[in-house]
């Protein structure tokens, strides 16, 4: 059970944060189909940051001295770097969609093509192979929290809460949850958030009240890029041992589905992401999943084909959407270039 919850969180948290990234863009009126591409780019930049800093040996002393706090700081810096570069990358979409009034679907598709191409081009030149790994060591030994850090011995148990939420987890996951809450509050409880949302509903009305629609849409897209970039890095950190290979296996698109499933509202998105995370977790590890701790791998004994578990998230998305699409509340002005002269 602790394993199930822990693994679910590992998949759910990147989904959640990237879906919120989608919300920020769409609520400001820009369809961000490029979430996948921005995730790939952010993941690459985060891994590159870790790789380079390790190469320069900056945190080697901290690692040798087992100074875990410093290492967590290093991880947070990498997340920040990924977020920053994700924001820069999303400027491409913002410029095309806002200044040039481009077709946002095609613009997003272009970014989705551009990110893996650029990333793989550079990875091949830097690493001479198709995957960029950490310069030394692995993600678990550098960034993962382990019970040994809290003075527990090899055979000692941490209790249910401890072994679920403290042992073998990444602090990055909790940072993401924190960021998710803060950004959701900003979107709903501050003046800025209210203004941003108004631009996705009726930009002309917002402009008549003195809100700078263009600035707001830029803000929405850039925040979206930062969150997606960070989410991309956290995804590869927690599931791919901090390595980048120009692919996040359709996670960005899944986040888009989570966003629509969650009806563009942070609370619902949280629930939807947990559900999807659960299915992703089951698909990845159902054959060794011991749910109630009796030593029986129940799901494996059901004898259902692996591919069914792998397909489930996508099938469920379609089924749920077919029931909810009539009542979905998409931002009214999303995807429509802002034209001040139109009413």
């Amino acid at each position: 059970m602790p394993f199930l919850i822990r693994q679910t969180l590992v998949y759910a948290v990147p989904l959640m944060i990237v879906a919120l990234a989608g919300v920020f863009a769409e609520r400001s009126g820009i369809i961000n189909l490029a979430l996948e591409g921005i995730m790939i780019f952010g993941a690459f930049m985060g891994v590159l940051f870790v790789h380079m800093v390790q190469q320069w040996g900056w945190f080697q002393a901290a690692y040798d001295a087992k100074n875990y706090l410093a290492l967590q700081g290093f991880c947070a810096l990498a997340m920040l770097f990924a977020a920053l570069l994700g924001a820069v990358f999303s400027l491409l979409l913002a410029f095309a969609a806002i200044n040039l009034k481009a077709d946002q679907t095609i613009g997003g598709t272009a970014l989705n093509l551009l990110a893996p191409a650029l990333v793989l081009f550079f990875i091949r030149i830097i690493a001479n192979q198709n995957t960029l790994n950490m310069y030394t060591g692995d993600a678990a030994s550098w960034f993962m929290l382990k019970k040994a850090m809290f003075g527990y011995g090899r055979t000692q148990q941490m209790g249910f809460l401890g072994s679920t939420f403290v042992d073998k987890v990444y602090v990055a996951t909790y940072i993401c949850i924190l960021v998710f809450i803060v950004m959701a509050v900003i979107l709903y409880k501050t003046r800025f958030g209210m203004r941003l949302r108004s631009c996705g509903e009726n930009p002309q009305a917002s402009a008549s009240l003195g809100i700078n629609v263009i600035k707001m849409r830029y803000a929405g897209t850039v925040i979206s890029g930062a969150l997606a970039g960070m989410g991309g890095f956290v995804y590869v950190l927690t599931t791919a041992n901090c390595s980048s290979n120009g692919d996040v296996a359709g996670f960005g698109f899944l986040a888009l589905a989570v966003m629509i499933f969650g009806n563009w509202k942070p609370g619902n998105i949280c629930g939807a992401a947990l559900l999807f995370g659960l299915f992703k977790c089951i698909a990845a590890s159902y054959s060794t999943l011991d749910i109630n701790g009796d030593g029986v791998y129940m799901l494996k004994n059901l004898n259902i084909n692996t591919n069914i578990y792998r397909m489930l998230p996508y099938v469920i998305t379609l089924v749920v959407l077919s029931f909810t699409s009539k009542s979905s509340r998409a931002p009214k002005a999303e995807g429509i270039p802002y034209d001040p002269g139109k009413r």
Binding site: A110, P116, L120, R310
Partner: protein, 418 residues
């Protein structure tokens, strides 16, 4: 007077805008290579210059001479391979272009391509060529592939028409479902390549000759050579697209008649779109679904039909690629989608959704792939730079309208100056 009317024609401007997009894309690729070359002492300006020359003229690259510098010349292998790879791109490009004309963004081409792969490969490798002639098996395989693609394309079409689900999202979901189904299907099938022990995750080429034999009372499958004492029940495989003499024209390449079929289909789609009632209805639905319905056009039927035809087109691309006899399919593909499907998007956008234009843009795209291949072979750079160029072209085509207006203004400005 006649000259100015030529410049002001919408078609001319579209072609110019596409050429401008290609030019800017190439420049961006060159710039990236230049920056990487200059920042990397082992490559330097000379290495960068070699890279840039290969990006532009890789099609004509013939290797390096004794002195170590690049040589260029007409190369039948590269030309033939360009045509061979253009065929699936023409088909997926047509698929996306047809969707765009009918107002549907068909990002589901990869899934439809996989459906076509499954349908055509299953028929080509399962039907006994001992009782049926190989050309008939080939034709049935192609048709089965098209049918699978049409059914798979119709799924998001129906979701869009009847349940009002955004087709982009429905297509993305069906893509991943198709990827999983394909893996499942071939994993459970007996088409996995076990005769060549080193191959893992691949299924047989369609040109492989297999014999189902009865040996010591047990059924098994062997290759072209039947061991002594085995009784042959049926022969399978040995199916390949006809070369139609093209292999003599472009010696050493993989080219076959598929490219000619693809061009014919492009012309058929052009006629369908511009000369038939059905084409008019599809375009009307694309322009304004509700107005079309008001005019008595059955919009829901048209949406499903568009997606079904688009699916069949993508699937034909897959069939032409994998039935060629010299390509093999990696079936363990549940985590990745075929690039040919996604490349249909830039092909269609570059051709501004014109079926005839698709032939040229697909050929250009496959030429870029050859250039990328040469770049990997001959320099320290790699083929992904061509994907960067393609992405930049797609990015520019997102605001093609703005570029067209710029070109118009450019002309006007000149006219005023005169």
């Amino acid at each position: 007077m006649r000259k100015s009317s030529f410049w002001n024609k919408a078609g001319t401007r579209s072609v110019l805008a596409s050429l401008a997009a290609i030019l800017i894309g190439m420049l961006t690729g060159g710039l990236v290579i230049l920056i990487v070359g200059l920042s990397n002492p082992s490559l330097g300006l000379k290495g960068a210059w070699e890279g840039i020359r290969l990006v532009v003229g890789g099609l004509f690259a013939t290797g390096r001479n004794a002195g170590g510098s690049l040589t260029f010349g007409f190369n039948t292998t590269s030309f033939g391979n360009m045509l061979f790879r253009a065929a699936p791109l023409i088909m997926t490009g047509l698929s996306v272009a047809l969707g765009n004309k009918a107002g549907l963004f068909n990002i589901g081409a990869p899934g439809q391509y996989l459906a076509g792969t499954v349908g055509s490969l299953y028929v080509a490798l399962s039907l006994p060529t001992s009782t049926l002639p190989a050309w008939l098996v080939w034709l049935l395989a192609l048709l089965c592939g098209m049918l699978c693609g049409a059914v798979w394309g119709a799924v998001p079409g129906m979701l869009k028409a009847f349940l009002n689900i955004n087709e982009v999202l429905a297509c993305i979901m069906t893509n991943w479902i198709a990827a999983n189904l394909t893996t499942w299907f071939f994993d459970a099938s007996n088409l996995k390549n076990v005769l060549e022990g080193t191959k893992s995750g691949y299924i047989y080429k369609t040109s492989t000759v297999m014999h189902d034999v009865l040996m010591d009372g047990a059924r098994s499958t062997v290759g072209a050579v039947v061991p002594d004492g085995a009784e042959v029940i049926a022969a399978r495989g040995g199916v390949a697209t006809g070369k139609l003499g093209l292999d003599k024209l472009f010696s050493g390449s993989q080219v076959n008649g598929g490219i000619l079929l693809a061009i014919v289909i492009a012309i058929v789609i052009y006629i369908l779109l511009s000369k038939t009632t059905l084409g008019y209805q599809l375009k009307a639905c694309g322009a304004n679904r509700y107005a079309a319905r008001y005019a008595g056009i059955r919009d829901k039927r048209n949406i499903v039909l568009t997606m079904a035809i688009a699916g069949a087109l993508s699937a034909t691309g897959a069939a032409l690629y994998y039935l060629s006899g010299n390509t093999e399919f990696f079936w363990n593909t549940y985590q990745s989608l075929p690039a040919e499907g996604f490349n249909g998007i830039p092909v269609a956008l570059l051709a501004i959704n014109n079926p005839i234009g698709v032939i040229f843009s697909a050929t250009f795209m496959s030429m870029l792939q050859i250039c990328g291949q040469k770049l990997t072979e001959l320099t320290a750079f790699n083929e992904y730079i061509t994907n960067v160029i393609i992405a930049v072209i797609v990015y520019l085509s997102a605001f093609m309208l703005v570029i067209k207006t710029w070109i118009g203004k450019l002309r006007k400005g000149k006219a005023v100056n005169k």
